[in-house]
Amino acid sequence: MANDSNLKTTPLHSMHKELGGKLVPFAGWHMPIQFKGVIQEHQCVRDGVGIFDVSHMGEIEIAGPEAKQLIQYLVTNDIEPMQNNQALYTLMCLETGGVVDDLLVHRFSDDHYFFCVNASNSDKDFQWILKNASNFNVSVKNTSQQTAQLAVQGKHSEALIQKLCDTPLGEIGYYHFRKAKIYNFECIIARTGYTGEDGFEIYIDSKDAKSVYKSLIEEGKPFNLQPIGLGARDTLRMEMGYALYGNELNENCNPLEAGLEWVIKLQKNDFLGKAALKKQKDAGLSRRLVGIRLLDRGVPRPHYRVLNEGSLIGELTSGTFSPSLNAGIGLCYVSTEHTKPGTKLDVEIRKLKVPAEVVKLPFLPSRVKKINC
């Protein structure tokens, strides 16, 4: 176990302590797992608005005349149709089709983009991009150190941020962003998130993070804004059935099986992993990621075994208690014959076999604001 002193900290580390956060090691960072309690924080985001410090996430900037060509080669989704100030969810794959990372591409202009990547992968991603960029006329910068990121999520997020920002946020569509100012601090405000609620992710200079965070906490009082820890971040994403790198996705997984075909554009020109993914698709999928809901009490956890009529059919990649459903939920790769919603399964929890069934994802309807501006 890493000693706490070896862990990286975000610019808001001292604030988390002041706000009563319980800090734990996470992906090499010392991060708040909870403040008042996971369930209460979860409900706070579902019912109103919450603020997350996600400064551990990585940012990588790619600019230059061949930035677009490089990114098209690196990622599975198609960035060609992207407009300025637009964001796109995508994967970066190995030649084998295994996933290097899942990430968001943001386009400033035709020759200038930035990626938001997973904390645990940011160094690996940067090296991977550099390695593949040698034949392209681009500059690649890892800006993770100087960039902090806050997520403000929940139906009141727009009204809250608008109090501190002149840019009309109503003009920012889903998966779009703007360069803006919160007070006098320059930032990027994107209508994106990992909760299934309307909300924003704000990228700011690390040195301004504390001021911006404090202002949002202060102005958030009338909205009952609360700081939210990584515990609720996980239960919120789980209810949406969003994949998490390290759980559902890794370098050995098949992203088609993860239900991510919608971000794998096999008709696009050559990209890393294309041949392997095309071959997998043509061969037909033998497994798929499904949502599983317990029909009895219990909390499913990653690696718990999933059985069908007594035979092992898979292992949970994620599992948790869903505060909204008051039930255990999990994600699992199972062979295609077991993927139909309503299929009865058992999840092995210690010595008990707890009845469960396959359910359609997401577990809870998403309430993201899909407005186009």
Binding site: G37, V38, I39, G231, T235
Partner: protein, 129 residues
């Protein structure tokens, strides 16, 4: 941190309230606070024989799974069935509605191994650093 005077405590953060040969068992205020929101309690059957310092059940919060350890050997005479529907009672009232089991025990000597409230407070302070 609430540590009632009239109880005895284990290293693993269970409390025990002794009344003759009967005892009530739960987890401490410190324990429930460390665990966070409790969402599931796995209870033993009434009639189960349990042994001091051995696991007799499980308590789960959103993020963690923890075994419950018997403060004393004996026979389970009652379990708090309310926790099946309202596990949050362990958070709300760890020494009240959040009790977990009742035991009938025989060996008073086993009580010697348990901690006094003062010893338990010291133990928690150490854990908190």
């Amino acid at each position: 941190m609430e540590v009632p005077e009239n109880l005895l405590y284990t290293q693993e953060h269970e409390w025990i309230r002794v009344d003759g040969k009967n005892a009530t068992v739960g987890i401490t205020h410190f324990a429930q606070d460390q665990l966070g929101d409790i969402v599931f309690v796995e209870l033993p059957e009434v009639g189960t024989l349990i042994e001091q310092e051995n696991p007799f059940g499980v308590v789960e919060s959103v993020k963690t799974v923890s075994d419950l350890y018997a403060p004393i050997s004996g026979t389970v005479t009652a379990v708090n069935k309310d926790l099946e529907v309202h596990p949050e009672q362990v958070n709300d009232a760890p020494y009240g509605n959040g009790w977990i089991i009742e035991i009938e025990f025989s060996d008073d000597n086993e009580l010697e191994k348990l901690m006094s409230p003062e010893e338990y407070i010291e133990r928690c302070n150490k854990e908190q650093g």
